[in-house]
C-alpha cells in the first residue's frame, strides 16, 4: 500500500495550493510529510511521490539529496547532525566528529545497536558564533560542544532523559572553541 493512499484529502489540499499544470511544486511538501511521519524516505516512497507529482524518481532523489533534512535511510531515536562548515570546522568540528564516531561506533547511514543514535554531517546551521554546533532531531541546537559537554549529552540521552532537560543541564563550556577539544595528531585545526 502506498503511503498517500489514505491521505487523499490532505493531498488534494496540498495540490490545490499550486496551479494545475505545476504539480511538481508539491514535491517538497510531500517529501516533508513522509520524512515527518516515517523518519526517512525510502526508494518506494520516492517513486510514489514521483508518480503523484508527475516527475521521475531521479528528480525526487535530486531534490531530496540537496537538503540534509531528508533521510534516505532509517535514523535512530536521536539523529545527531554535526555542522561541518567553516566556522564550526575552525572551532573543532572535525575532532568532535571523530570523538562522536568513536564513542558511538557508527558512521553516517548507520544506527547504534540500541537504535538510539544516528549521525550526519550537515552544512552550516547558522550559529557560527557558538561553534561547534550540533542539532538533535528538530530540537534547538546544542552549542559549543566540547568533549565534556558531548559526553554529558550522550550519557543523558542514554538514560532516556528528556532532551530539553539534558540540554539545559550540560556542564558549562570551559572555554570557547577549539582549545577545549583535545587535538588529535598534527593535522588538527591548529
Amino acid at each position: 500500500m502506498g503511503f498517500f493512499d489514505d491521505k487523499q484529502e490532505w493531498l488534494a489540499e496540498v495540490f490545490a495550493q499550486y496551479p494545475a499544470d505545476r504539480r511538481r511544486s508539491a514535491l517538497m511538501p510531500l517529501l516533508r510529510r513522509v520524512q515527518q511521519d516515517e523518519g526517512y524516505v525510502d526508494f518506494e516512497r520516492m517513486k510514489e511521490i514521483a508518480e503523484l507529482v508527475g516527475t521521475t524518481a531521479t528528480e525526487v532523489a535530486g531534490v531530496m539529496s540537496f537538503y540534509s533534512y531528508y533521510q534516505g535511510l532509517p535514523t535512530g531515536k536521536y539523529h545527531i547532525q554535526v555542522c561541518r562548515t567553516l566556522s564550526c570546522k575552525l572551532a573543532g568540528s572535525d575532532e568532535l566528529w571523530h570523538t562522536l564516531t568513536e564513542r558511538l561506533g557508527i558512521l553516517p547511514g548507520e544506527v547504534t545497536e540500541d537504535g538510539r543514535f544516528s549521525l550526519q554531517a550537515v552544512e552550516c546551521l547558522g550559529s557560527c558564533h557558538t561553534g561547534p554546533v550540533i542539532q538533535i532531531n528538530d530540537e534547538p541546537y546544542v552549542e559549543r560542544v566540547t568533549k565534556a559537554r558531548l559526553e554529558a549529552l550522550l550519557e543523558g540521552l542514554e538514560q532516556d532523559k528528556p532532551l530539553e532537560e539534558v540540554r539545559r543541564t550540560l556542564p558549562d563550556e570551559e572555554k570557547m572553541g577549539k582549545a577545549t577539544i583535545e587535538l588529535e595528531g598534527e593535522g588538527g585545526a591548529s
Binding site: R22, T56, A57, T58, E59, A61, G62, F66, E123
Partner: protein, 796 residues
C-alpha cells in the same frame, strides 16, 4: 531592434537576445561551458563573465547624460554572466578588458581545480571545450614563481577530489564523475528534449554528482548527451577508445535508418566506421539524433562481403567480378526481360532509384519495388515539415512517432513546451536562447495520439487511445464522424470521448499537422480516409515510412505496377524480401553488404555492396527535404555501389543501361527537375515532386503484430546494441498470454520475418486482447504468432 555595442562594434539584435549571442553576433568570442544551442540557458558555469552596462532614462524620458553631455552608461556593479543577461537598447558590453579576462581566467582555474589531468587518455581530448579554454587562459600565464625561480602553473596544492571514474549509465554511455564540471547540460537535455528527467544533480556543493535513481537511461535519445558534454565526462561506449579526435576522417552525411533525415558526422579511422555524431541542422534535427542513428553502426565493420560470390554446386564460392558477370549472363539467358524484377533497399538513394527505374523501363518490367514500401505511397500526402509542427495548433499522431520517425518525437515535445523556431544570427543558432525555459510543462491540449499499441507520446496527449490492429480505418471513420458533429462510430479499444475531444481540438485549430505511421499506410482504406481528411482540412502530413528514402524512390518511379504475376529472375538489394519472391523466382542476384542467412540460402550470385554510409547520393526525407549523403572512408574490399551493380546486372541481360555513375543520375535529375543535387541548401532543399502511384496493398495477416522500432535488424547485430536491448519483449494482454499458456517473464522463441527470435513475455493490460506485440527489425506489418519452443518456457 536593440542596438548593442560590443567592445568597438555596434550590432543590432532581436529583442530578447542574450548578451552572449550579441557578442558572437558581433564577431567576438566569450568562453562558455553551460550554455548550449536549443537548450535553456541557466548561467551555472559562470564562465561567460563580461562587463556590461546600459544607459538609463531620466524622469523626463531622455537619456541621462554625464558632465560632458555623452549618454551615461550605468555599469552593472559586478561582472555578469552573459548567457542569462538579456540585451537592452544601448547596452555596452566589454569582453576584452583586463578585468574581464582576469575574472574569466579565474573561472577556468576554479573549474580546473578538481578536474583530472587525464587528457591523454580521454576520448574528448582534442575536441574538449575545457581543454581549449585551459590552453587559452592557462598556459601562458604563470601564477607564481617558486623561490628557486621555477614558474608554477597551478596554485592548487591540494589533493584533487576523487570520485567514481567509470560509471556506466547504460550500455551506451559511461560517466566519469571526476571530469564532470557540473554544467547541467545533460540534465537539461533530458528534461527539455526527449522529455524524461532521468538525470539530475544528486547531493550538493562539492559532493554534487550527476546520477539517476531510475533504472538506467531510457534508450531512444540518450546518446546526445555525449555530444553536448563540454568535457569528457559522458562518453559514447560504442566509440570509446577507438581513436583520437584528430585521427578521424569526418564525413558530413545523413542517417539512413529512418525517414527523419537526421544529419550526422561519420567518423572513420583506418577504414573502419568508429563513431557517429550529430551534425547541427536547425530545420531537421537541431543537435539531436536518435540512439539507433548514433549507436547502430557496429554492423558496418563486421563480416563485410568484400568480393562477389557465385553459387557452384550448391554452395556459394568467392569469385571475381568477371566470374560474377559470366554467372549472371548464364543464369539470365533466355529469361523474359519483362519478368525481371528489382527490389531496392529502403535506404537506396534518389540516384540509385533513378538508375533502377531506368533499367526497369528498358526491361519493360513492371516489378520494381523497395523494402519498406507501404500499401499507399507516402507521396500522396501534402508533406508537412518539422518546422510546421512548431507552428501547429493541433497535432494528431496516428502511429508511434518516437519509433517510426524519431526526430518527430523531439519536435512534438518542443511544440508542447512552446519553443519557437530560433532566429539566425551571424554565428547561426543562438547559443543562449532566453526564450527557452527549463521545466515548462507540456501543453497536453495540443496533441492527440492514437496507435495500435501504447506509445511514448501518449503521455503528453490529452486525447489518446489504443485501437485494435487493423482498425485504423475505423478510427478515421469515427474521427470524421466526430468532426461532422455526429456520434463517433465504434473503434475497438478506443474511448469515444477521446475521439470527440481530439476532433473538438482539431476543429478549433487553425494549423493542423498529422502524423501517420506504417499501420495506416499499410491499410489502403485507412490511408485513403487519412488522405481525404488531410486534403479536405488543409492539414500537413508527416508520413512515417519504414523506408528512409520512400518519398525519393517513389518520386523516381520505384513502385510495382501491372499484374501480380511474380518475376522469374530478380535483383535484390534489400535486406529482406517477401517469401513469394525468394521462393518463386528461378534466378536471384543479391547485392548485399553481408552474407545474411537469406542471402546464403537464396542467392545464385552475390555482389558485394556498399552501406548507405559509404554512398554519395541524395535522400528525400519525410518532410520532402533533399539531403545529401557523402561517402565515408570505410574499407569494404571490392564492394560497389548500387548504381554500378545495377549497370552490371543490365549488362548481363544484354542491355547497355544509360546510368552507370551517380553523376549521370544527378545530371539527369538536374535536367528533369532543375535542381542540382550537388548544390543543395545548407539545411537541405525542399522539393515537392508530383507523383501518383496506385495503392498496392501489402499482405497483413496474423496476430503477431510487428511494432515499429527505431532499432532495425542490422543495428541489432552490433554487440553493444544487442546487450543494451537485451532479450526482445513480447508484449501481450495477460488474458491472451494465459490462453496461450505463457507466464509473465517466460522466455521462448518465436518465428519472425528475421528468423527465429528469442523473446521474453511481458504483460500489458492496456493492449488489445488476442494480439502479441514484438518490436520489428524489418518493415513488416504482422504475421501469425508461432512459438518454437514448448509453451510456457522457463521463468527468467
Amino acid at each position: 531592434m536593440p542596438k548593442v555595442k560590443v567592445n568597438d562594434r555596434v550590432v543590432e539584435v532581436p529583442p530578447g537576445t542574450s548578451a552572449m549571442d550579441a557578442i558572437f553576433h558581433a564577431g567576438y568570442d566569450v568562453p562558455l561551458f553551460c550554455a548550449e544551442r536549443h537548450l535553456s540557458p541557466t548561467g551555472s558555469c559562470r564562465m561567460c563573465l563580461v562587463k556590461a552596462g546600459a544607459p538609463r532614462k531620466g524622469p523626463d524620458g531622455e537619456w541621462i547624460t554625464d558632465e560632458s553631455g555623452e549618454v551615461k552608461i550605468f555599469w552593472f556593479p559586478k561582472l555578469m554572466a552573459s548567457c542569462t543577461l538579456a540585451v537592452s537598447d544601448g547596452m555596452v558590453i566589454d569582453t576584452l578588458s583586463d578585468e574581464v579576462r582576469h575574472a574569466q581566467s579565474g573561472m577556468v582555474e576554479l573549474t580546473l581545480a578538481n578536474h583530472p589531468l587525464d587528457c591523454p587518455t580521454c576520448d574528448k581530448g582534442g575536441a574538449c571545450d575545457l581543454q581549449d579554454r585551459a590552453y587559452e587562459y592557462g598556459l601562458d600565464r604563470k601564477f607564481y614563481t617558486r623561490p628557486d625561480g621555477e614558474p608554477v602553473y597551478t596554485r592548487y596544492a591540494f589533493t584533487k577530489r576523487h570520485v567514481d571514474k567509470h560509471h556506466p549509465l547504460s550500455e551506451f554511455i559511461i560517466l566519469d564523475r571526476e571530469r564532470c564540471i557540473h554544467c547541467k547540460r545533460c540534465v537539461r537535455y533530458f528534461e527539455e528534449i526527449p522529455g524524461d528527467q532521468v538525470l539530475d544533480f544528486i547531493e550538493r556543493g562539492v559532493h554534487t554528482f550527476i546520477g539517476t535513481a531510475d533504472e538506467g537511461l531510457p534508450s531512444g535519445f540518450s546518446g546526445n548527451i555525449t555530444d553536448i558534454c563540454p568535457v569528457g565526462a559522458l562518453l559514447d561506449r560504442v566509440a570509446r577508445f577507438r581513436g583520437r579526435n584528430w585521427e578521424f576522417e569526418q564525413t558530413a552525411s545523413v542517417d539512413p535508418s529512418d525517414a527523419s533525415g537526421q544529419n550526422i558526422w561519420i567518423d572513420a579511422r583506418s577504414g573502419r566506421l568508429e563513431r557517429i555524431r550529430t551534425r547541427e541542422n536547425p530545420e531537421v534535427n537541431d543537435l539531436w539524433i536518435s540512439d539507433a542513428a548514433r549507436f547502430g553502426h557496429e554492423w558496418v565493420n563486421e563480416d563485410r562481403l568484400t568480393q562477389p560470390m557465385v553459387r557452384k554446386g550448391g554452395s556459394l564460392e568467392p569469385a571475381t567480378w568477371e566470374e560474377a558477370l559470366a554467372a549472371m549472363r548464364q543464369g539470365l539467358e533466355g529469361v523474359d526481360k519483362k519478368r525481371v524484377g528489382i527490389v531496392l533497399p529502403g535506404d537506396a538513394t534518389i540516384e540509385e532509384g533513378m538508375a533502377a527505374a531506368e533499367l526497369s523501363k528498358v526491361l519493360g518490367s513492371d516489378f520494381l519495388d523497395f523494402e519498406g514500401r507501404t500499401g499507399v505511397p507516402a507521396s500522396n500526402y501534402p508533406a508537412a515539415t518539422f518546422a510546421d509542427l512548431l507552428e501547429a495548433d493541433y497535432i494528431l499522431a496516428v502511429g508511434d512517432p518516437t519509433e517510426e520517425l524519431p526526430i518527430a518525437h523531439v519536435w512534438i515535445h518542443k511544440r508542447l513546451r512552446g519553443v519557437k523556431m530560433p532566429p539566425r544570427l551571424n554565428h547561426g543558432t543562438p547559443i543562449a536562447d532566453l526564450s527557452i525555459r527549463e521545466h515548462t510543462p507540456p501543453d497536453r491540449s495540443l496533441l492527440g495520439a492514437f496507435a495500435p499499441h501504447t506509445t511514448r507520446v501518449m503521455e503528453w496527449a490529452e486525447a489518446s487511445g489504443v485501437f485494435e490492429p487493423g482498425h485504423a480505418a475505423a478510427f478515421f471513420a469515427a474521427f470524421e464522424a466526430a468532426l461532422a458533429g455526429r456520434e463517433p462510430t465504434e473503434v475497438p479499444g478506443v474511448d469515444p470521448v477521446a475521439i470527440k475531444r481530439a476532433a473538438e481540438r482539431w476543429q478549433k485549430a487553425e494549423k493542423r499537422v498529422f502524423l501517420i505511421g506504417a499501420e495506416v499506410l499499410g491499410d489502403v482504406q485507412a490511408a485513403q480516409l487519412a488522405e481525404r481528411l488531410a486534403k479536405s482540412q488543409g492539414a500537413g502530413v508527416l508520413v512515417m515510412t519504414p523506408a528512409a528514402n520512400a518519398r525519393g524512390l517513389e518520386a523516381m518511379g520505384v513502385w510495382p505496377t501491372g499484374d501480380r504475376k511474380g518475376p522469374r529472375a530478380v535483383f535484390i538489394a534489400a535486406e529482406s524480401a517477401p517469401m513469394k519472391i525468394l521462393e518463386g523466382t528461378e534466378f536471384r542476384v543479391f547485392h548485399a553488404t553481408h552474407l545474411s542467412p537469406m542471402v546464403a540460402r537464396y542467392a545464385d550470385v552475390v555482389l558485394p555492396a556498399k552501406t548507405a554510409y559509404e554512398k554519395r547520393g541524395t535522400f528525400l526525407s519525410a518532410e520532402n527535404r533533399l539531403l545529401a549523403l557523402q561517402p565515408a572512408h570505410v574499407e569494404a574490399g571490392e564492394a560497389e555501389g548500387l548504381v554500378q551493380a545495377l549497370h552490371l546486372f543490365g549488362t548481363a541481360l544484354g542491355l547497355n543501361p544509360a546510368i552507370r555513375f551517380v553523376r549521370q543520375a544527378q545530371q539527369r535529375f538536374a535536367e528533369r527537375y532543375k535542381i542540382d543535387l550537388n548544390r543543395l541548401d545548407a539545411y537541405g532543399t525542399l522539393w515537392r515532386p508530383r507523383v501518383s502511384h496506385a495503392p498496392r496493398p501489402m499482405p497483413m495477416e496474423g496476430n503477431l503484430y510487428l511494432r515499429p522500432s527505431m532499432w532495425k535488424a542490422r543495428h541489432r547485430r552490433g554487440p553493444t546494441v544487442q546487450r543494451a536491448l537485451g532479450v526482445l519483449e513480447l508484449a501481450t494482454h495477460p488474458e491472451t498470454a494465459l490462453a496461450e499458456g505463457l507466464d509473465e517473464g517466460a522466455t521462448l522463441e518465436v518465428e519472425t520475418p528475421e528468423g527465429p527470435q528469442r523473446v521474453r513475455v511481458v504483460f500489458d493490460a492496456a493492449l488489445p486482447k488476442g494480439w502479441f506485440y514484438l518490436p520489428a527489425g524489418v518493415p513488416a506489418g504482422r504475421m501469425p504468432f508461432k512459438a518454437l519452443v514448448p509453451r510456457g518456457g522457463e521463468a527468467s
